[in-house]
């Protein structure tokens, strides 16, 4: 944990991309501080910089300028190997697409990140699948599940390495309202156990269920 007690701390973070001769300013002097146990919604239009923000918080990308601290790690100058290690131990990812491997069972899909962490996570995988209500679906293949069930598998998988932060990029984008509501309830349940969640969403109803809403427009963040 850093000195300010923040789990995620960003100061004056900018991220520029080159597209041909044009420079895209995906993030402009963005500031964000997240305490442990917060549930943050990041709301913004398409192209506003939400995914760039998530990539930087998720140690998938480095800022062009500014200061970023995730847990105890200043990520700007860390080599790729250490960023991978942070992703492995500290951060869980949930995306709009579920990215389940179609030929692995539900249980095997959840255990997959444990393979890269060289840990035997079968017991925890079974527990997590019980928590997301899929303990009777362990040996099913992804194509035997509904969209909501697949996202629940993806959530269980994102938590397998016991991360401190869950980053969710439009996790309900592919789901109907009923399943979307269930997923958010599940996030709330995990958040109550102390998990910090940063979630990108277009849906204002879902955003209102979070403890804090951050708006992003043209790369600028406003609380």
């Amino acid at each position: 944990m850093n000195n300010n007690g923040y789990l995620i701390h960003m100061e004056s973070v900018s991220k520029d991309f080159r597209r041909g001769s044009e420079t895209i300013h995906a993030l402009r002097e963005a500031n964000l501080s997240v305490h442990p146990g917060e549930f943050i919604a990041v709301v913004g239009h398409s192209g506003s910089g939400k995914t760039t923000l998530m990539n930087i918080i998720g140690c998938l990308d480095r800022p062009t300028s500014g200061y970023v601290r995730i847990a105890d790690h200043k990520i700007k100058d860390l080599p790729e190997k250490e960023l991978t290690q942070i992703r492995k131990t500290t951060i869980g990812f949930v995306f709009q697409q579920f990215f389940l491997i179609p030929t692995l069972t539900v249980l095997q899909n959840v255990m997959l990140p444990g393979l890269f962490a060289r840990q035997n996570v079968e017991k925890r995988a079974r527990e997590l699948l019980g928590l997301v209500g899929l303990k009777n679906r362990l040996s099913h293949l992804p194509d035997q599940l509904s969209g909501g069930e697949m996202q629940r598998v993806a959530i269980a998988r994102s938590l397998i390495n016991n991360p401190s932060i869950l980053l969710a990029d439009e996790p309900t984008g592919n789901l109907d309202s009923h399943n979307a509501g269930n997923i958010i309830s599940m996030f709330e349940q995990f958040n109550r156990t102390g998990l910090t969640i940063v979630m990108v969403t277009h849906n204002p109803d879902i955003a209102t269920r979070c403890s804090k809403i951050v708006h992003i427009e043209d790369g600028c963040l406003t609380a």
Partner: protein, 391 residues
């Protein structure tokens, strides 16, 4: 769960593609097993038949290309090349010569081309020069038109001692005086005649195909060869039995080159197949690989995953191919027999073995795994945020 479980499950996503890639390795491994088996088998059969088991240490032939001489001796036929019979008496005087076998070798093909008989005119010295030349029944020629039959031809013709057989080619009857023990060599299919009779039948009186020599002391072979050369006319040559075998193997070398080119082609097809399959697999799964990197898969993990996938295909394909190669080698041996022009040993010319199959299996697996390195490297270089943002 381990990397192999994940790799195997990935291969099941597109089973047709995986099977086709595996099949290219089956073909490579099978071809390699067959070709090495044939190559080794033919050399071994030639050596065994001409060098080790005959007891002949040297041949005196007409001067010229030793390979041509080898072919003439091996194939018989009425070659214009011949050795004068008078040389027999001369070489007999050499102190290191133990036995001398002058012979006339020729073949006769029936009119419709369906069969070729091998005839060899010999003297009683054959029993001293060739320890493997043993009677199963009967004995030496009883008259000038007696024949001694190899075991196989006697069996095919259903002839026994005392039977009389008619030869259309020579319009003459021959009496069977002896049948040889089977020695799994060319003798099994040969009809032996008295030397003079053989020469008369082909109007080559006083002329020999070659003279076979048995030495008293083979450690003096080089010295004896030089001395014998000095005793015979300049247009004759002295060949060691090893040189004869080598000459025949040189004839075989063009066939050998073609066979190994086939192996190379099969390998090239496999290489392209594997690289193509694994590149496709990587390109199709870019987002998934990007996600795996999100959840902590390092470059080494991705490299390992893709390499394991290829390894699984390679092991399955190469193993199956090596066993298929072992199984079909004898059939290819028979097929090759019909194509060979230099010398056809009568035993099996395919010599498949587990060590050859193992060599083929290891070579194909290794090449396959090396082929996977480029696609695996491409996969490991995927930048997650670029893929997730742009695709």
């Amino acid at each position: 769960m381990n990397f192999m479980t994940v790799a195997w499950s990935n291969l099941r996503r597109n089973p047709v593609r995986s099977i086709l890639t595996g099949l290219s390795l089956v073909v490579s491994a099978a071809t390699l097993t067959v070709v090495i088996g044939l190559d080794k088998g033919y050399s071994s059969a030639v050596n065994s038949e001409l060098v080790e088991s005959t007891g002949v240490h040297m041949y005196i032939t007409k001067e010229g290309c030793p390979i041509e001489a080898a072919s003439v001796i091996a194939q018989g036929g009425l070659s214009p090349l011949f050795v004068e019979e008078e040389l027999v008496e001369r070489v007999q005087t050499h102190p290191n010569v133990d036995a001398v076998l002058p012979f006339k070798l020729f073949t006769v093909t029936v009119e419709d081309g369906s069969r070729t008989d091998i005839f060899m005119g010999v003297t009683p010295e054959i029993q001293r020069v060739r320890p493997d030349w043993q009677f199963a029944s009967g004995g030496w020629f009883e008259s000038e038109y007696s024949v001694i039959l190899g075991a196989e031809i006697a069996q095919i013709e259903g002839l026994e001692i005392g039977d009389v057989t008619y030869s259309e080619e020579f319009d003459r009857e021959f009496n069977v005086s002896g049948i040889l023990e089977r020695n799994y060599g060319q003798d099994d299919a040969t009809i032996f005649l008295p030397l003079a009779t053989a020469q008369r039948l082909v109007q080559r009186e006083g002329r020999l195909s070659a003279i076979a020599l048995k030495l008293t002391d083979i450690s003096l072979m080089d010295q004896s060869r030089n001395e014998l050369r000095a005793m015979i006319p300049a247009d004759s040559n002295v060949l060691g039995s090893r040189e004869l075998g080598d000459g025949i193997l040189q004839f075989y070398s063009s066939t050998r080159v073609i066979m190994f080119i086939m192996v190379v082609i099969a390998f090239v097809i496999s290489v392209f197949g594997i690289v193509n399959t694994m590149l496709m697999a990587v390109l199709e799964r870019r987002r998934e690989i990007a996600y795996l990197k999100c959840v902590g898969a390092g470059k080494t993990d991705i490299l390992k995953l893709i390499t394991f996938e290829t390894f699984a295909i390679c092991v399955a394909g190469s193993l199956l191919g090596a066993f298929i190669g072992l199984a079909v080698s004898p059939y290819f041996g028979n097929f090759m027999r019909s194509l060979l022009v230099a010398y056809v040993p009568s035993g099996s010319i395919a010599q498949p073995s587990l060590s050859i199959a193992l060599l083929a299996f290891l070579s194909c697996t290794l090449i396959g795994v090396v082929c996977s390195l480029y696609p695996a490297f491409r996969a490991s270089k995927i930048v997650p945020m670029e893929v997730l943002r742009n695709e």
